[in-house]
Amino acid sequence: MRSLIASWNILKKDVKTYYLKPPNISWGIIFPLSWTLMQALHSAKGNMSGLLPGLIAMSVLFGTTSMLAVTITFERSGRSFDRLLLAPISLGMMVGAKIAGAVIFGIFNAVVPVILVFHYIGLERVKWAMLFLGVLLVAITSALIGLLIAVSAQQVFEAQTLSNFFRFPMLFLCGLFLPLNSLPLFLRPVSYLLPLTYGTDIIKGAITRNNLMAPALSYGVLLAFATGLFFLCHYNIKRKWIL
């Protein structure tokens, strides 16, 4: 019970304090939103439905990674993060609360492209449960990647810059804008090492039914990525922050 009270309050604090921090607004909200609107204004209706899964995945990816980069590095630089490390709750619960804040932010960011899905594709053709699960798993894995980056960064700008080294290559290698089978042969194995590839495929399947892999496989791989990343983050936090 004590741990639940602590975790819930960490989550509430992050939502209240950090959602509208400038780096979150610029990288987490404005950038995906403007890219989505740009595509909506310049693409034909047919092209747009093909782009929407990518725009949803991108919005979630940028939202979650920005959020964790901001919350962790802000708190690390002001040393308020030490309060969380010194609280009598397990590191796993604390990390879980931090990730939950980022995941909710990422899901919220997917709202605009999902509204466009209503407009271009219609409600009845979308597999909503599959879409929600896809968005949730992309948000969780992206949040964990954001945490992994935040553990290594000292300042917010450093975390954002470092995040872009992962975010942009992932965008172009995960089949969002370039189909996987049109990528050069040597890059294709790299694509299958990226969690976003599987998340995008689930979202594609939910919206356009053009998924390459069986949804069960993608769910399984994403869960494996999430578990692996969680333990890697846990290990890294212990190694780098509890000296």
Partner: protein, 321 residues
């Protein structure tokens, strides 16, 4: 209450803490003194579970901190050297949030937050964001946040560093008040006067090793045989230091400023020959007073350090040197 045994912390080849052992009794204020870089913060970080000891063990209220870190943290309150609450949150929100980290239910944490704001004289400003607080207020709120869950042991790292003299005095009074309530307090400081005022027992740390520990009286006894006299004159005594040194063999004479000097000796310092000597050189003595040896002298005698690296409070509330 606290038992540290053969505690060692190494960062690569550098040994920050070198096998120290000490005990702190239930309900006492234990001061950990040393210059910057002596190993104070490394020690406190190991005790609160923010750093892993390379060797040794720490037992707090029967709990092994290395093995049961979270259980031990539940009975600790921690005031770090930097007031590290959340800038965007108000004073009240900060207190409630810190209480929630220890699992206090909403009603209880709000009630305790209000009580503490009143006790720490922070009512009326509780709705201001933490970043708008003065340094003294920040310090007080940080202490309030550390005790909101009624910890059995309180760790204070440089509690009055960087705050004004009035706030520093208030903080010391608050610490003494907590002791009255039975809280065991471990305080690190480089401010000797502060330690003398509030601590029941002390340990001196230098280069990662404890060079002495005991009550203030026990430590002072180590230098009580030393004599020191401060002399104030009507003219510059600079030219006479060498002559005085020869006249009062075995004494150490330091010029404090143009018209005053300090004579230190292991023997009684006779006043009349000193006044006569100065008078012969046309200098009158305005004032001569015996100076009580201080903890600073204990530290210097123990470490052999010529210039103390730990500071005496000069009315700035314990600024770092």
């Amino acid at each position: 209450m606290i038992v540290a045994s053969k505690l060692k912390k190494k960062y690569g080849d550098f040994t920050a803490v070198d096998g120290i052992s000490f005990t702190v009794k239930q309900g006492e204020i234990f001061g950990f003194l040393g210059p910057n870089g002596a190993g104070k913060t490394s020690t406190i970080n190991m005790m609160i579970g923010l750093s892993r000891p390379t060797e040794g063990e720490i037992i707090i209220d029967g709990i092994d901190v290395r093995r049961q870190t979270k259980k031990a943290q539940a009975i600790m309150g921690i005031v770090p050297d930097v007031s590290n609450l959340y800038n965007e949150m108000t004073g009240f929100e900060n207190l409630c949030f810190c209480a929630s980290l220890y699992g206090l239910p909403k009603k209880e944490r709000e009630h305790k937050a209000r009580q503490l704001l009143e006790r720490f004289q922070l009512t009326g400003i509780e709705e201001r964001p933490f970043k708008a607080y003065s340094k003294g207020m920040r310090r007080k709120l940080t202490i309030a946040a550390a005790i909101i869950h009624s910890p059995r042991v309180l760790f204070l790292d440089e509690p009055t560093a960087g705050i004004d003299i009035v706030s520093a005095r208030q903080v010391r009074e608050l610490v003494l008040g907590l002791k009255e309530l039975g809280t065991t307090i471990f305080v690190t400081t480089h401010n000797i006067e502060e330690a003398e005022r509030i601590c029941d027992r002390l340990a001196f740390i230098a280069n990662g090793k404890i060079v002495a520990d005991g009550s203030v009286k026990e430590l002072m006894d180590q230098v009580s045989h030393r004599q020191a006299m401060q002399v104030v004159t009507d003219a510059n005594v600079g030219g006479l230091i060498g002559g005085l040194q020869a006249r009062f063999e075995g004494s150490i004479i330091e010029q404090i400023d143009d018209r005053s000097m300090l004579l230190k000796s292991r023997n009684q310092i006779p006043l009349l020959p000193l006044v006569e000597y100065l008078s012969r050189h046309g200098i009158s003595v305005y004032e001569a007073k015996y100076v009580r040896p201080s903890l600073e002298d204990v530290f210097i005698s123990l470490t052999g350090s010529e210039k103390p690296l730990i500071s005496r409070n000069k009315g700035k509330g314990g600024q770092k040197p």
